[in-house]
Every structure is written in structure tokens, then in C-alpha cells.
């Protein structure tokens, strides 16, 4: 009997330590695991490195985690979405470090981290400021940049349906970084709107196989960043 369910988001993130590296799924609000992020704020771990494509909007979710002063460093491709003020303010004040990575390189570095590929050569960013200080090499007459696999201590993602083995289906463009992030952390936690017994999902259609998932939390009606922001919400 395998059952990866845990009873709450708070239990799921209880063992996050200060200084941990955390991958957080989502592209904008699509796929952002807000309930897990809020549980992490309650939990209190600080000095975190956050790996996520954006930095959140308004005063909820990822932006709230930043605003609470828990994040030491962000590894990210696009930290200034419309509606994001928390990160820009912290960054200008020198209170958060930024490692800017092209979006495709970020995805590939996370995939590599999860797939046991130590490093790879990509043409992306060759000859640009984002390749400065990085090793380069020509393949077929074209300059490539050496990029390293990226791993984390925890991954927090949002699924549409999970089963008790941790198999996951996603919702449309909420999928984005979640499948790679699931593979690249020591502990992968998914919040899913629906949780079903193993055997109910079509084995041909599963996007993230359960081997990549450690904890499943049932969050029946997940909040959306835009809806919370429209309501003027802030967390905590």
C-alpha cells in the first residue's frame, strides 16, 4: 500500500529548513501553488533560495513570501510582471539577490538537475551579458554556453488531479514548469484540486509519474492570484 497523501499544506511543508532551496511552479498565476506558499509563510523558514519563473503579483502567494522577508535569492527569468511591486522594491533596496536565467535555459537546467545530467551546452544567451563569466565552446561553428543542472531541497507545485501514488495531471497552461521541478527536488510536494485512488488515471495520459512526487495535499478550491488581488487580499 502506497499512499503519499498528507493531511494539510502545513504538514506538507513542516520540515523546510532555513536556507533551503525551493522550486515553485507557475508561470504568472497559472500553476502557482498559493496554498502551499502560504503554508510556507506560516511555517517560518527564512533565508530561502526560490527558483520560479516570476516573482508574484500583489501581496499574496510568491509576492507575499518575498514581502515576509523569507527569501535571500531568486533564480528566475522574468521578475517584473505587470502588478509585481514587492520584488522590484526589495531588489532596488538590495535586500534580495537575483540570478537571471533565460526561460528556456531555466527549464532545461531544472530538467537536467532532475535527469542526472550535470551540465549541457546551449546556444541560448551566447554573446550576451547573461553568458558573461560562463564557459563557452563552439559546436558546428556556433558558440554555446555551458549551463549546469539545477536542483532544490523542495518543490511546490499545483496539479489538477493527483492519485495516491503521486501521479499528476495538470490544467492547461498551469503545467509549465511543474513537470521538471517535480523531478529536481529532494522532496516534491503537490497540491491537487482532486485526489483519487491509484488506478483511476489513464496510464497513457499521466504527465508526471508518481516516482517524482513525495507528498500529495488535497486543496479542493485553490485560490487564484488575480482573484485574490482583485479582492485586495494580502497574506498573512
Amino acid at each position: 500500500m502506497i499512499d503519499k497523501r498528507v493531511v494539510s499544506a502545513h504538514e506538507a511543508v513542516a520540515d523546510v529548513r532555513d536556507g533551503a532551496a525551493i522550486m515553485i511552479g507557475g508561470f504568472g498565476e497559472a500553476g502557482s501553488p498559493i496554498e502551499l506558499i502560504h503554508a510556507l509563510i506560516d511555517q517560518g523558514a527564512k533565508g530561502l533560495t526560490v527558483i520560479s519563473n516570476n516573482t508574484g503579483t500583489g501581496l499574496v502567494g510568491l509576492a507575499a513570501l518575498l514581502r515576509a522577508g523569507r527569501v535571500r535569492k531568486v533564480i528566475c527569468s522574468f521578475p517584473k510582471t505587470a502588478g509585481s511591486t514587492v520584488f522590484p522594491d526589495l531588489y532596488r533596496a538590495g535586500r534580495v539577490e537575483l540570478e537571471l536565467v533565460p526561460q528556456g535555459t531555466l527549464a532545461e537546467r531544472i530538467r537536467a538537475g532532475g535527469a542526472g545530467v550535470a551540465a549541457f551546452y546551449t546556444p541560448t544567451a551566447a554573446g550576451t551579458p547573461l553568458a558573461e563569466g560562463k564557459e563557452t565552446r563552439e559546436f558546428s561553428g556556433r558558440e554555446h554556453v555551458l549551463e549546469h543542472g539545477l536542483r532544490a531541497d523542495f518543490t511546490l507545485i499545483k496539479g489538477r488531479i493527483a492519485d495516491t501514488h503521486g501521479n499528476i495531471l495538470f490544467h492547461r497552461t498551469a503545467r509549465n514548469f511543474a513537470p521538471m521541478m517535480a523531478t529536481a527536488a529532494t522532496v516534491t510536494i503537490v497540491q491537487a484540486a482532486e485526489v483519487v485512488p491509484a488506478g483511476e488515471l489513464d496510464p497513457e495520459a499521466i504527465v508526471t509519474p508518481g516516482i517524482f512526487v513525495d507528498r500529495v495535499v488535497h486543496v479542493p478550491s485553490p485560490a487564484l492570484e488575480s482573484a485574490l488581488n482583485e479582492a485586495g487580499a494580502s497574506y498573512p
Partner: protein, 231 residues
């Protein structure tokens, strides 16, 4: 329906409007192409695709077969494009993760990317992600991946900045997005190819003279290019 209002300067009415540029770009995209339209002005291109052609739109956050945005307030907040706007999907659409999405981009599977620009150089260098200003929050998204991987990169841009400086230059002064990556520039004044010998005129906007374009360009434009329209 009427001529340009009296008193407006010649420049304000010369050349293509944003929609005109988009229409001109759309003419050069073949049926069946897989296309990534950059956030902002390039998105207009989808409105001007000639009848009888079907393009498949890729959005790098994980959808192929993207359709138009729904009415304001409608749609699914988790069915969005790279600009984080709600969109729809067309028959034959497919969702996938970011690694797959950028495998499409980096692996040369997309036929065309249409992007905006801060500067384009005569050698095809593109700068479109940062002015390098000290207080700017650096953000790059998928721009560097797109220019590194997509087969052809079209730039859509005004020919000069709001201050009147050329955006087509000898060498980019802003931080680069990629080196030697631009195929062709569509501005309000002209269509200009990037060739091994630099900028080369493809077509002038209606009513625009060559010298007028050359004066507003930071590098020489070859005029007697054998290439005209089409790409």
C-alpha cells in the same frame, strides 16, 4: 475617407501604421507555419493573416495552437499566453511543459518568431530585453531562447525611437539578446533584410522615399538588392 488633417507634420502620417506593419508581416508567412508572436505589437500579426492560410501559434509557456483572447473577464485564468493574457485554443492544440516548449524553440522547430526591438544592428544583432539602465529590474523571459533557436526572426518596430534616434544601427549599444539573429526588419517606413553585407532594402512603405529612410537609419542600406518581397 479623408486626407491627412492639415497642420500635422509629414512624418506623423508617413509610412505604415502599427496595423499596417502587422499586415505587411502577415503577407510573408506561409500557410502551415509554426509561429511565435512576441508580446505586444507582434501579436497584431494574427489579425491580418490572408484568407486561405492557417498558422499555428506557439506560446512558450506551453501551448501550440493558441487562439484569440476571449472578451475581457471571460476565459480561463490558467489558459494564458506568454504575456500572461487569457487566450483560447484552436482545433489540434496541444499542451506541454516548459522543457518541451523550449525544445521546440531551441531545436529549430518553429518557422518564425516575430519580436519587438530596442535596437537591431546591421550584422543582425538584436537588443530587445534591457536598456541597461541602473535602476531597471532585469527580466529576459524567453527572448534569448527564441532568437537562438527559431529558424527566422522578424523584427517589428518603429524605425526610430520616440526621441527620433535610429533603432536600426551599426552596432547595438544596449545589452544584446542575441548575435546575428535577425532575418528581416519590418518598420513603419520600410522592410529591410539583414544580409552578409548589412541592411538591404526590400520594400519602402507607400509614399516613403529611400533617402528619408536612410537618414533615419544608423548604418548604410543597400538599395540594389535583388531581393524584393517574400522571404
Amino acid at each position: 475617407m479623408s486626407a491627412a488633417p492639415q497642420g500635422r507634420s509629414q512624418e506623423a502620417t508617413l509610412g505604415w501604421s502599427r496595423e499596417g506593419i502587422a499586415e505587411r508581416v502577415a503577407q510573408d508567412i506561409e500557410n502551415g507555419s509554426y509561429v511565435n508572436l512576441g508580446i505586444g505589437i507582434p501579436e497584431l500579426v494574427a489579425k491580418f493573416v490572408p484568407a486561405g492560410r492557417t498558422l499555428v501559434y506557439h506560446t512558450e509557456n506551453g501551448l501550440l495552437g493558441m487562439g484569440p483572447s476571449p472578451a475581457a473577464g471571460q476565459g480561463d485564468p490558467e489558459l494564458i499566453n506568454a504575456g500572461k493574457r487569457r487566450v483560447s485554443m484552436m482545433p489540434g492544440a496541444a499542451f506541454f511543459d516548459q522543457a518541451t516548449s523550449f525544445a521546440m524553440i531551441r531545436g529549430g522547430h518553429l518557422d518564425l518568431s516575430v519580436l519587438g526591438a530596442l535596437q537591431v544592428a546591421a550584422n543582425g544583432d538584436l537588443a530587445n530585453w534591457s536598456t541597461g539602465a541602473d535602476d531597471a529590474i532585469p527580466a529576459v523571459g524567453g527572448a534569448m531562447d527564441l532568437v537562438a533557436g527559431v529558424k527566422r526572426v522578424f523584427v517589428m518596430t518603429t524605425h526610430v525611437t520616440k526621441e527620433g534616434s535610429p533603432k536600426l544601427v551599426e552596432r547595438c549599444t544596449y545589452p544584446l539578446t542575441g548575435r546575428g539573429v535577425v532575418t528581416r526588419v519590418y518598420s513603419d517606413l520600410a522592410v529591410i533584410d539583414i544580409t552578409p553585407r548589412g541592411f538591404a532594402l526590400v520594400e519602402l512603405a507607400p509614399g516613403v522615399a529611400f533617402d528619408f529612410v536612410q537618414e533615419r537609419t544608423g548604418a548604410p542600406i543597400l538599395r540594389n538588392s535583388t531581393r524584393r518581397t517574400g522571404a
